[in-house]
Amino acid sequence: MKNKKSWYDYLWIWSILFFVLGFFNIMFAYLGLIDFLVPIFMAVLGGDKKFCNRYCGRGQLLEKLGKDLKLSRGKPTPKWMASKYFRYGFLIFFMTMFANMLYITYLVFAGVRDLKEAITVLWTFKVPFGWAYTASAVPDGMAQFAFGFYSVMLTSTIIGIAVMLLFKPRTWCAFCPMGTMTQGICKIKYRE
């Protein structure tokens, strides 16, 4: 157990900051791409899961809430939730919803669809979010992506917090799509 803290042990602050910044200006959602691209680059180029192991702000935040604030019940993750089928199934579902978000962005860029100044929570509930965006500040398609990406990040965080409360602090990691994807990249890279 490491006692001396490093700069990356405070990345949980980034996880909170991301949502706060996006709440006031949705264009900050683009910063969330760091959490999407860096793990993939690390897996492809470095051949490891250093991002999950060390730099994942969300994992750290869930640990803070679950362990330090004792919000987690600490019950074992249900077997089905930690199973391969659920992990890969959730990855496919998550990527399908992500692709759908990209398609909507494309439609707005193409002028076929109007910009919706709203976020979609848990892929279902539309929440008006107009205050976070100044109309015509950027092309509508760019803003649409920001609303969509913020929705993706918020939805996954809500699920992460829900399973943290019910089970172990980092139960989310058992089926996190980014974790499954980067582990898959490592498996392919090392032919395991």
Binding site: M1, K2, C52, K168, G179, C186
Partner: protein, 67 residues
């Protein structure tokens, strides 16, 4: 009685939670695929098994070392 951490590779997601929690630095993540346990360092405290989000770690009790 010897208590050591054991890993079910197929369940491990290589999140690194066990690495962080282990008081003996007995665990590490191998090539981003699964965790590995250095049995010479492991004292079988069970912290890793308790915290593993994927239920991949467990404590194996055996009398082998005492025989």
């Amino acid at each position: 009685m010897s208590r050591k951490a054991e890993l079910e590779k197929s369940l491990c997601v290589a999140c690194g939670e066990c690495v962080k929690i282990c008081p003996r630095e007995a665990l590490s993540v191998y090539r981003g695929i699964y965790a590995i346990c250095d049995k010479t360092k492991c004292v079988g405290c069970g912290l890793c098994a308790k915290n593993c989000p994927a239920n991949a770690l467990f404590i194996n009790e055996s009398e082998a070392d005492n025989k």
